[in-house]
Point group: C2
Chain length 370, copies 2
DNA sequence: TCACTCAACTTGTATGTACATATGGCGAGC
DNA sequence: GCTCGCCATATGTACATACAAGTTGAGTGA
C-alpha cells in the first residue's frame, strides 16, 4: 500500500467539488454550516474550515459572517477554467504566418483557450522580452517558432525555466537542436530536393538557387537543392547559388538575378527561389531584362502562398501546411496540457512538401541547351 | 475610539509585509520558523500559520515542509504589473488584418503590454464566445473590429459590461452606431468617391461597382461610388452595381463580371472593386473573356495590399492605413488606460484613403465610347 | 403596531495539544 | 572514509476549546 491516503480536508474538498460538478449545489445555494458538515463527516470544525478556506480562495464558495457559506456564481467559477496559451512567432503579418496563427487561434478558441500572441521580428532581444512578458502571468502552454535558428539560442535559460515550471511547449517550422520538445516541422530539405529534381527532369542543367540562409529553413532547402544535383550528377557552378540574409532580401537576390541573366556567358534556364515572395520579386527581375517566364526562365517558389496565384503566370511551388500546421500545433499542445503528457521530441510531426506544377516551369527549350 | 483593532494575524501580516518592502528580507531569505515568530510576538503557532498561509496565497512567501518558510523571488511579486490587452478582429489571416494586428502588437510589446488575440470569422456567435473568454480574466483594454456591423449588435450586453467594469475599449475599421467609444475608421465613402471620380475623369461612363454589403465598409464605399455619379451627373444603370455577401464572394462577383462583359449590349469600361483581393479575382475574369486590363477594362482596387503589386498589371488602388491603424489604436488605448481618460467618441481618428494610380486604369479608348 | 431585547445560529479569531512527515546534520559503526 | 540510522527541527494535518462578532427571527413590552 504505497498509495497515500489523502488528508481529510482534501477528501472533503474533493467531495464538495463533486457536489458542485454534479449540480447538487447550484449558484448561491447555501452550504450546510461548518458544524453540520463536521458532525456529518465526523471531523472537527477546524478541519472543515480549512477545506472551506481553500474552496473560498479558489473561488468556489463565498462566506458571510453570521449568515453562512454559499456557492459562487458559475461565472466566477468557470472563469478559472479559461486557460491561456502563448504563440511566439518571428513575424505576424508576413506571408504564411497569418495562416499559421489563424489555424492555431481557431483550434484554441474551439477548445476554450485564450491566445496570447507575440512576435520577435527575428530578433533575439525581442524574443527575450516576449518570453518575459508571456511568462509573467499564468501560462498553460507555449507554441514557439524559433528565432534565427541557424545562429544558436541565447535565451536557453528561459526555455529551461519553462521545463522547470512544467509548462508544456512545442516548436513549429524549425527547432533548436539542443532542446528536447515536440516539434512540427516541414521537411524543407525534401522540398529543396523536389524543386531541383522537377527542373532537372524537365531538362534544365543550369539552375540557380536563391536561399535565405540566416534561418534553418533556407539552409535545409539549400541542402536539398544540392543533394538533387549530386544525385543526378549535375555539376553545379558556385556562382549559381545565391545566399542572402533577412536584411538583404530586398536588394541582393534581385540584383544577383539580373547579373546572372546579363553577365553570365551561359545564363541559367531556371531559378529555385527561397519562397513565393522572392519568386514574385525575381519574376519582376526577369521581366526587366526582357526575358519571359517560363519561356526563357523557369521559376519554382516555395510555400504555395496566395501570391503564387495572384500573378498572371501562376507559380509552380511546393506546399506548406500553413493553417493545418497551426491547428495541429494547438491540438497537440492541448493534448499535452490536458493529459499531462511529458515533453519529448517523439511526439511531433514532419510534413513533406508536395510539388504543385503550374505555369512558371516548362521543359527546357532546344535553343536553351548549351 | 471607533477604530477597530486589527486582528492579530492581520497585524502580523502588515508587519511582515513591511519587512519585505523595507528590504529587511530579500528574495529566498529564510523566514524565522513559525514557533520562533509565535514566541517573539506572543501568539500561538496556529495564528502565525494563518498569517503565513495568506502571505503564501498572495505570492509573498513559499513554504517547504521540513525546511522552512522563504521569501518569494521579486519576479513573482512584480509580475503583477504586466497588463493584458485584447484584440478582437473579424479575420486574422486574410488580407490587411495581419498588418493591423502586427502594428498593434509591436506597439503593445514596446509598452510592456501583452496581446490577447481572437477572431470572430464575422460570426456573431463566435464574437460572443470570444468576448466571454477574453473577459474571463483581468483585461486592461480591448480593441474591437465590429462583426457584420450592418446588421445590428446582439452582443450589446457584453459591451455594456465593459463600461460597467471600466475597461477602456475602442473600435477600428467600423463602429456600432449605438455605442459611444473612440473609433479609428477609414473614410470609406470618400474612398469610394475617389475611385469613381478617378475613372470618370479618365472618361469612363459605364463603370460597374462590386461591393460586399454585409459590412459597413462595403456599404460606405458603395455610397461614395453613387455620390460621385450624382455629382458628375453620370446616369448609373442599376445592373452595373453588384452586391454580394461574404458567403458569395467566391462566385457571384466573378460570374457577374463575366455576364456584364458578355451579355450587356454596351459592356462596361471599368470596374470598381470592393478590395484588391476581389480586383485580382476579377482580373482573372476579364482575361477569361479574352479582354485585357487596362486596354479594355480599367480596374480599381481598395486597400493597397501586397496583392496590388504582385500582378503583372500593377493595380490602381486606394490606400488603407493598415499597420499604422493598428499602432494608433494600441497607443490610443494605452493612453486611455494610463491616463484614465474616459471613453467617448471624440477621441478617435478618421483616415482618408489616397488614390494610388498604377497600371490598371487608363483613359478610355475612343473605340470604347458608345 | 412598533421597537427593542435576546437567544440561537452563523462565521471569525485565537490558543492549545498531538502526531505525521520531510529535511539536514551528527555520530556510531562498518 | 563511507553508510546508516537517529535526532532535532521544520512544516503539515487534525482535533478541541473558547470567545468575538455579525445575522436572523421569535418573543416581549410599551
Amino acid at each position: 500500500m504505497k498509495e497515500k491516503q489523502l488528508p481529510k480536508y482534501m477528501q472533503l474538498k474533493q467531495e464538495i467539488l463533486s457536489w458542485l460538478h454534479a449540480g447538487k449545489l447550484k449558484a448561491n445555494d447555501q452550504m450546510p454550516s461548518e458544524n453540520e458538515i463536521a458532525e456529518q463527516f465526523q471531523m472537527s470544525r477546524q478541519t472543515v474550515r480549512q477545506t472551506f478556506g481553500e474552496l473560498e480562495q479558489e473561488g468556489w464558495l463565498y462566506r458571510m459572517q453570521g449568515k453562512g457559506t454559499y456557492v459562487s456564481t458559475p461565472h466566477t467559477q468557470k472563469s478559472r477554467d479559461v486557460q491561456t496559451i502563448g504563440i511566439l512567432t518571428t513575424y505576424i503579418s508576413d506571408y504564411i504566418f497569418p495562416h499559421i496563427v489563424r489555424g492555431a487561434e481557431s483550434a484554441l478558441r474551439a477548445r476554450g483557450y485564450r491566445l496570447l500572441l507575440s512576435s520577435t521580428d527575428n530578433d533575439k532581444e525581442k524574443e527575450k522580452e516576449s518570453l518575459q512578458m508571456m511568462m509573467s502571468q499564468p501560462l498553460s502552454g507555449l507554441i514557439i517558432e524559433p528565432t534565427r535558428s541557424a545562429e544558436g539560442n541565447p535565451n536557453l535559460s528561459f526555455y529551461l525555466s519553462l521545463d522547470y515550471q512544467h509548462i508544456p511547449y512545442l516548436m513549429i517550422n524549425e527547432r533548436y537542436p539542443e532542446m528536447n520538445c515536440p516539434s512540427l516541422i516541414v521537411d524543407d530539405e525534401e522540398g529543396g530536393f523536389k524543386a531541383a529534381q522537377h527542373l532537372i527532369e524537365l531538362g534544365h542543367r543550369r539552375i540557380a538557387g536563391f536561399f535565405k540562409t540566416d534561418d534553418l529553413q533556407g539552409v535545409n532547402r539549400l541542402k536539398g537543392f544540392l543533394r538533387a544535383h549530386q544525385q543526378y550528377q549535375i555539376p553545379l557552378l558556385p556562382e549559381l547559388v545565391i545566399h542572402y540574409t533577412t536584411d538583404e532580401k530586398g536588394q541582393k537576390p534581385y540584383e544577383s538575378a539580373i547579373d546572372l541573366i546579363t553577365q553570365q556567358a551561359e545564363r541559367p534556364t531556371a531559378f529555385v527561389c527561397y519562397n513565393d515572395e522572392l519568386a514574385i520579386h525575381l519574376l519582376e527581375a526577369v521581366r526587366t531584362t526582357g526575358l519571359q517566364v517560363p519561356q526563357d526562365i523557369s521559376l519554382v517558389g516555395f510555400d504555395d502562398s496566395s501570391l503564387a496565384l495572384a500573378t498572371e503566370v501562376k507559380l509552380t511551388t511546393l506546399t506548406h501546411p500553413k493553417t493545418q500546421l497551426g491547428t495541429d500545433a494547438a491540438e497537440l499542445l492541448i493534448d499535452m496540457i490536458e493529459n499531462k503528457r511529458r515533453n519529448g521530441s517523439e511526439a511531433g510531426k514532419v510534413y513533406t512538401p508536395e510539388l504543385i506544377i503550374r505555369e512558371s516551369t516548362i521543359r527546357v527549350m532546344p535553343s536553351q541547351i548549351g
